[in-house]
Amino acid sequence: MISTSDLPPQNPVAENRRTRLERLLQIASHDFDLRFEFGNRDVVGESHIVMKAEAEKVASANFLALKGWALNLLGHALSESWPWYDAALREETQGKARFSALWHALEDARVENWFIQRWPGSIKCFEANLLPNLGGRLLKRMPIGDQIELGLYLQGRGYTQARYMGVVEGFLQHIESEIDLGAHGSSAQDSYTAMLSIYPRVAQWLRTDHPRHVRQSDIRDQGKIETNEGENRPAELMPPGSEPEIEISDELFSVGVTGRRQEFPEWYRPGSAPWFERGLGKKEIHPQALRTNRQTIIAPPYGDLELYRLMRAEVRREVGFLSHRLTNLIREEVYLRFAGYHRTGRLNKAKLWKQRIGNYRLFQRPTISSSHAVAFTLLVDESASMKGRDKYKMAMKAALLLGETLDLVSVPLEIIGYTTEEYEARAAMKLGLTPAYQYRTTRCSPLEHRIYKRFDEPYFSARIRLTGIEPRHNNWDEESLMFAFHRLQARAERRKIMIVICDGQPNGDANHLIETIQWIESFGCKLIGVGIDSNFIQEVYRNAVVVTDFRQMAEELLEILAHEFRPSSI
């Protein structure tokens, strides 16, 4: 098995593409346990496919080409080609130079033809991996062995316009029927048999040609097929090298969701202030770390179904208890209440006597339930410090608990994880701000916000994503609070409540965080800080609770929700 742990950490775009391709392959193969990864070589195994690609290149590659390549690997997996690959290798060790590479080219053509027959649209993906203009004149300059290999593939796929050397062209015409048989067979055996009959005619040119592929069969897993076609990757995999545009002005800058310019607290201006302690001075944001709100939104990981089931089992009791208490609290509001003096609606019989005096406003209409007039945002600290004592797991369970409970009572909820793109110290060093500790009031890394559940999204479709909550880098609470507040402010609900789960170790000056909290609360939004093992938040949040374990957190959350749903608090 090839380990991918030694590979550099994949960037979010690459991870997003990996998830998308994994789901595509799962759906196409109807094998929903299939795993797909990017690694340092192509591997096809049972329910496991690794594509040779680097995360950086994947992020900027032509997605169609990536898809074509992934489908090709899936085709090999579905055709169970690997026993024939072993057989081809044996032929090669017995003196048939390049036999396995040539067979592989023909097998690739067969797999793709089979794929196109079943999924006609996949032809676009495979074509995205072809050489532009089928190699043009340059094809003739390739070594003769490579021309034959490519020719087998192209002819097998039905591309006859490529221009080879005369001798190769003649040879390919001569073996057209064998290629056709091999490339349109129903199994890898067909292409293998065809290759056995083709090889003696081509061997004379290959003996003098240096073998292009160096196989590493000693490190190959049993039951896996490795392919070297990754070397023929298209030019589209090159990164474009373009940076996202960020609008910066000398005065205020906008990070609003809708792009509106807004007045922010003093520290929010470029060149103003923070780090955990108070009175550290001005906060600064390095221009490289500036992003608009929209640009800080990162697609959350798809999540792990098994982990979700495990977590769900752990919080099952709390969910049941919490939803039962909440349902009891708002039961009255499940029933429609009628009120008012209208000309239509339900007749209020108690007021019928008024008809005698000519008053016909004797009807009542349903009143809107006030529990529906509240929206929640749950902000989860995803900083690296959350790793200690598995605090992030506690936060994950809290997200599950809140998500499920509020979904049951149809209250809108958004769950956001916040962190930075990189560790602040590392980012500072990369930017040449050394020693890094002197720049701890400067945010050097862009913010990252993962929206695990949106307001308008059913909890059901987001629940597995919640398992993606994990410790990442650093956190600048005040800016992330502002981000979440802007999104919450756009909601129509009358009451807005933000619950922040953190461990009380944000970057920056605490004064700025306090200032921001006061500023947000001045708009009528209620902020509740839930600190895991941290008393610090009691100094920062007006409404703060400190918890040490999940049971305590569940009780505190129940108290918070019960308080918010009690008619007296409305």
Binding site: R20, L24, I27, G121, L305, G345, R346, L347, Q355, S461
Partner: protein, 280 residues
């Protein structure tokens, strides 16, 4: 005849609610035969199924074939008992009663289809109890406790999307007492591939069988993914019909963008688009 059941045709019925001629592909699972059996024995039926599996259409088709009026009530969360049973109004002479849709259908002998019954208010659900019980009547408490007994031709059908998985917003788990009062509950599945192709072709007017077959295969693949929680949402036959109909004029992929992908979240739409790309 529907399967082995002979359903009487109400030839003398002149109700304005009789549905027009319906294009309908009989599901091979035999749902229609069971519904016909319930009609013959005056049994209320609850139809449960994903959106667009043909719950409403099966009842409408049967009503059309038997020449019975069909009134369809969408029980959204805001439908009140007044609208459902009736209400008192007032004028200079005093108060007078106006029948709601249920009482009207009961007296006229039309069939009634209570759509999305698991989204209705608890008051409405409880008011149905006496109607679904053996005594088959409704007591109008607002109207001096008058009793309304149904016309012999009156039939009750209810439909709902499965609420167990919480995928349909605004729905609740059906009260056990109400569920218990339906003698027959039909859980409907999507049509098998061949029948679905026929249904889509006949309802959309798109006679390009190869194209429709691919659309149905896309739907099948996506449903498998939904079942395995890889995609969230639904891909109903109705959606395939909309897609096939639009594809008569526009490009297949462009049509999919407006009839299928735009109804899904961004994440899911990307995956479904990839699947569509595989077939077209």
């Amino acid at each position: 005849m529907v399967g082995s059941i002979h359903v009487p045709v109400n030839l003398s019925n002149t109700s304005s609610y009789i549905p027009g001629e319906q294009t309908y592909v009989l599901p091979p699972q035999g749902y229609l035969e069971k519904i016909a059996y319930a009609v013959c024995h005056n049994l209320p039926v609850l139809l449960i199924g994903e959106t667009g599996v043909g719950k409403t259409m099966s009842v409408r088709y049967l009503a059309s074939k038997t020449n019975n009026g069909l009134r369809r009530v969408n029980l959204n969360g805001a439908t009140t008992v007044d609208e459902f049973l009736g209400k008192l109004l007032i004028n200079e002479q005093g108060t007078y009663w106006v029948n709601g849709v249920l009482v009207d259908a009961m007296l006229a002998g039309d069939w009634i289809l209570l759509d999305e019954i698991n989204a209705c208010l608890p008051e409405i659900a409880f008011s149905l109890h006496s109607l679904l019980d053996d005594d088959r009547m409704v007591v109008l408490m607002e109207y001096d406790g008058r009793i309304v007994r149904p016309h012999p031709n009156f039939r009750v059908f209810a439909s709902m999307n499965p609420s167990e998985e919480g995928r349909y917003g605004g729905t609740k788990t059906l009260n056990e007492a109400l569920l218990d009062r339906f003698p027959m509950v039909v859980r409907m599945e999507y049509l098998p591939v061949e029948e679905e192709i026929e249904a889509v072709m006949s309802q959309s007017g798109n006679i390009d069988r190869q194209m429709v077959a691919r659309m149905v295969k896309v739907a099948e693949d996506v449903r498998q993914a939904i079942h395995n929680e890889k995609v969230f949402g639904s891909f109903s036959t109705r959606r395939v019909v909309d897609w096939a109909r639009m594809a008569l004029i526009f490009d297949v992929q462009e049509s999919a963008r407006y009839t299928v992908l735009s109804k899904m979240s961004k994440f899911d739409a990307e995956v479904v688009e990839d699947i569509i790309d595989l077939y077209f």
